[in-house]
């Protein structure tokens, strides 16, 4: 049985330092919800408040309509997966996975069935009798996942579960986690600082910075329509350029670009967030920003160019690799045009996305 989770005006302090000032968040039933943010922004802290390992200095947390602030971790019916797996080193795989059920005094027969089933699902059936020290990192993580899920928790909480694995295994495991979560439909809060991982697994992502939620959205929206400059720069790569606006025209380094929407009239100095793929590059002067190739990186599908603009700023441009033509050599003069309809325009403090509202 899955639950909705509601965080209402959450306040967290360690001593006198406020780590989370006032956070509200609604997580839907069965959702794979990710907390994403730079290290130290309070993701773990928030997760552990939901788990019951951190005190709550203010606000309320609800599972469905039940206030859980004062329940002990054991009473919340949660499954928890830790960064370092936290497999009990003195128990074999079966005993580790059975641990939660044994505590609930489930009959032995039932435990056996449930554990065997889950071991099969996470594909570690064959290691049932092994001791944890004889398992690889990935296998240990599967044990941890099985142990958390077998108790049929209302909520699955995972704190950077993949950060101790190598790159290849990380991709395998995140697919496994996503698959299992979908199969069971458990409401899941997943913590990571790896944006690609977050994009890959999440239904929705909350971007956090300094204990404050910057944006909650589906991955596509987070990437394409970031609420503010922090989100734009944290998710994916982007070039930030200062520009002036007047009506439908953006003025950059003296070049003018027309723009489909009308921005609020009080804004004249703005910041543009232009993704590398939102530039069009050409070595013929068809207008646009003038620049010089510094170097290029060929990555198969795409080619990355690093270009110095006339004002000295360096930008990154991505182009779909072409067949039969050589890459632009360093020092080549190029002209850049901009996909003005898709770029994001922020006020000069970077706090508000001006291009979101359309005609304000």
């Amino acid at each position: 049985m899955s639950v909705r989770i509601k965080f209402k005006n959450i306040l967290k302090k360690y001593g006198n330092t406020v780590v989370i000032p006032d956070l509200s968040l609604d997580i839907k039933e069965g959702e794979f919800f990710t907390l994403l943010g730079p290290s130290g922004c309070g993701k773990t802290t928030l997760l552990r408040m939901a788990a019951g390992f951190n005190s709550i200095e203010g606000g309320e947390i609800y599972f469905n309509d039940k206030l859980i602030n004062n329940l002990s971790p054991g009473e919340r019916n949660i499954g928890m997966v830790f960064q370092n797996y936290a497999i009990f080193p003195h128990m074999n795989v079966f005993k580790n996975v059975a641990f939660g059920l044994t505590n609930r005094k489930v009959p032995k027969q039932k435990i056996e069935e449930a554990v065997n089933k889950i071991l099969e699902i996470v594909q570690i059936q064959e290691y049932k009798d092994r001791m944890p020290e004889n398992l690889s990192g990935g296998q240990q993580q599967r044990v941890a996942l099985a142990r958390a899920i077998v108790i049929e928790p209302d909520v699955l909480l995972m704190d950077e579960p993949l950060s101790n694995l190598d790159a290849k295994l990380r991709v395998d495991m995140r697919n496994a986690i996503k698959g299992i979560q979908r199969k069971f439909g458990i409401t899941t809060i997943y913590v990571t600082h790896d944006q690609e991982e977050a994009m890959a697994v999440s239904d929705r992502i909350a971007i956090m910075n300094k204990g404050i939620i910057q944006q909650v959205d589906v991955p596509q929206t987070i990437y394409q329509k970031p609420n503010n400059l922090f989100v734009a720069t944290f998710i994916g790569r982007t070039n930030v350029l200062a520009a002036k606006v007047s009506k439908n025209t953006l003025i950059l380094n003296g070049c003018e670009f027309t723009f489909g929407k009308t921005l609020p009239s009080d804004q004249t100095n703005v910041l543009l967030s232009i993704r590398p793929e939102e530039f069009f590059i050409s070595n013929e002067n068809k207008g646009g920003l003038k620049g010089k190739i510094e170097h290029s990186v060929f990555l198969g599908l795409n080619t990355h160019y690093f270009i110095t603009l006339a004002n000295g700023q360096e930008v990154e441009v991505i182009e779909r690799s072409k067949h039969g033509t050589a890459l632009f050599a360093p020092k080549t003069e190029v002209w850049l045009n901009i996909d003005t309809e898709n770029i994001n325009i922020f006020d000069k403090a970077g706090l508000r996305n001006l291009s979101l509202g359309g005609n304000v």
């Binding site: 009473e75 919340r76 499954g79 080193p89 003195h90 505590n103």
Partner: protein, 548 residues
């Protein structure tokens, strides 16, 4: 690698150390074995037969077993909860308590025995107080009870320090994982924490077991009719009437065999149950509320009071006025004056002998640690095992072995200062070797290889690169060795002469003679030296603990 070099100076260190162990440890123990089967000069097992024929003798085995097992169990039952409480619950003054625990462990056990006699003995102050005011008689402190109380309180810190160390390696995520699945409180302790620290508990228990088995002073003072094996060995070997060297040797051989088997069994169990743990986030010390908090505080405070009480009381009595042998009303420094005039030379002896032994210990420990860690081979394995032997061989047995082996030319050492230094060095070397090995395991070999690749020779590399990195570990082991040399009694009581009498021996003999004032003054001075040593050590290293 360095090993392939033709001229490896460490080869000579290995041979040299093995020869030293062969001559000064194996040869004496073998002499003992030979002596045990040569009663009256001809081959036979009558010494062993004599032991089993008479209850007066074999009864000591039963007593020793009783003492050893009871002490081990009580120590574990007391120390584990204290370590758990101090590592998980916020206790007021806990850093002071930790230092007091350390202090309570570094005095000679028999001083505890004699302090408890002063307090609870037939004419002890507490006994008299209860008798005179309430006409209640307090429990008898002599015999088994007394030995049990004294040794448990004395040895508890060993297990405490072991377990504390282990608890710090338990990652809090394990605890949280278990709590999130509804396993809390005592259940958590039994199912998760207990099994994880079991290997450490066993290691600590083994140490306690060996100490309790070997302790001589405590049963001698407080045991009265309750005779244990070390007492038997001592009296058989030393006393004018019962003197029977072969018999004492036979008993010694049996004890060593027994201790060795216990040691091996423990090693086997511990090996099977050892888990590799690395703690990212150690368990947190939390503030408890309500009755749990009160009980935790009470438990720790009562324990530490009992543990430190003997030393405090001894220090107190050292300032009492005496008249002849008895304490009278009023305070004075009489006892100190008496101590300096009567046995002042023992203070000088202690420093000369202990410092000499310590110098040998430090040099050997560094060299042996280096070859066992950096040059693993069959030979260094043998060396490793040899260095463990003194853990198993009780002091009184080592004393007899040395006397048996070195009582005639060319190695006539009995009654010399050398034999005293030798026994100190052999018995207390393992502490420093252990800590030196531990730190060397943490020093990356890469820096040595870098130095060699840059053209530094082996010796230079060792002196300039390895040794400086090892020093903190060597130092903490050396402090332990030093403190335990100061309180060594069971071997030195057999080996000393008037010219080589140490403070600990002087205290013991003064207690036996009933000169409690002098004994108190001397042991206060000893406590003072201990405290100063620890303070210097803490200051030098910036630590607050002495890991064992």
């Amino acid at each position: 690698m360095i090993e392939t070099q033709k001229k490896d100076m460490w080869k000579w260190v290995i041979y040299g150390s093995l020869i030293l162990y062969a001559v000064f440890l194996l040869y004496p123990l073998l002499s003992l074995l030979v002596k045990s089967v040569l009663p009256g000069g001809s081959f036979g097992f009558s010494s062993f037969g004599k032991f089993f024929a008479n209850k007066f003798y074999y009864g000591t085995v039963i007593n020793s077993m009783l003492v050893t097992f009871s002490v081990t169990i009580c120590t574990v039952l007391l120390a584990v909860p204290i370590a758990y409480i101090l590592n998980t619950i916020k206790i007021k003054f806990s850093s002071t308590i930790q230092i007091l625990i350390l202090l309570s462990s570094v005095s000679a056990p028999f001083i505890g025995a004699y302090a408890w006699i002063l307090l609870l003995g037939r004419s002890g102050v507490v006994t008299q107080f209860f008798k005179q005011t309430f006409n209640i008689s307090t429990p008898d402190i002599y015999g088994f009870t007394g030995i049990l109380v004294v040794l448990t309180l004395q040895l508890c810190p060993l297990v405490y320090m072991y377990v504390s160390g282990a608890l710090k390696t338990v990652d809090s995520s394990l605890i949280e994982a278990s709590e999130s699945m509804g396993c809390t409180g005592i259940k958590k302790m039994l199912k998760i924490v207990g099994p994880l620290i079991l290997p450490t508990i066993l290691a600590g228990a083994l140490l306690v077991f060996m100490r309790a088995l070997a302790d001589f002073g405590t049963p001698m003072l407080i045991g009265e009719g309750f005779r244990t094996i070390p007492v038997l060995i001592f009296t058989e070997f030393i006393s004018e009437m019962g003197e029977d060297d072969s018999f004492a040797a036979a008993v010694s051989v049996m004890v060593v065999v027994f201790a060795t088997s216990v040691f091996l069994v423990q090693k086997l169990i511990a090996k099977r149950k050892a888990y590799k743990m690395s703690s990212l986030r150690p368990m947190q010390i939390k503030e408890e509320k309500g009755i749990k908090n009160v009980l935790a505080h009470l438990f720790v405070y009562v324990y530490i009071l009992l543990a430190i009480l003997p030393q405090l009381y001894v220090i107190y009595t050292s300032f009492l006025k005496t008249s002849g042998k008895i304490f009278v009303k009023g305070y004075s420094l009489q006892s100190y004056a008496a101590a300096f005039s009567k046995v002042g030379d023992s203070i000088i002896n202690t420093f000369i002998l202990a410092l000499s032994a310590l110098a040998i210990i430090i040099v050997l420990a560094i060299l042996i640690a280096y070859v066992t860690v950096r040059r693993p081979s069959a030979l260094t394995n043998l060396l490793d095992v040899s260095t463990m032997l003194p853990y198993i061989v009780p002091g009184s047995i080592l004393g007899i072995a040395l006397l048996t082996a070195f009582n005639k030319p060319p190695l006539l050492l009995s009654a010399t200062a050398i034999i005293m230094i030798l026994s100190f060095a052999i018995r207390r070397l393992p502490y420093t070797i252990r800590s030196s090995c531990a730190i060397l395991h943490q020093v990356s070999i890469a820096s040595e290889e870098a130095a060699i690749s840059l053209g530094a020779g082996q010796f230079k590399t060792f002196m300039r690169i390895t040794l400086p990195a090892m020093l903190p570990g060597v130092l903490s082991g050396a402090v332990l060795s030093w403190l335990s040399i100061l309180t060594e009694l069971s071997a030195s009581i057999l080996l000393y002469t008037i010219a080589t009498r140490t403070m600990t021996i002087a205290i013991y003999t003064e207690v036996l003679r009933g000169n409690y004032g002098t004994a108190a003054a001397l042991s206060s001075i000893l406590s003072f030296i201990t405290v100063i040593t620890l303070l210097i050590f803490f200051r030098l290293t910036g630590k607050k603990e002495l890991s064992m």
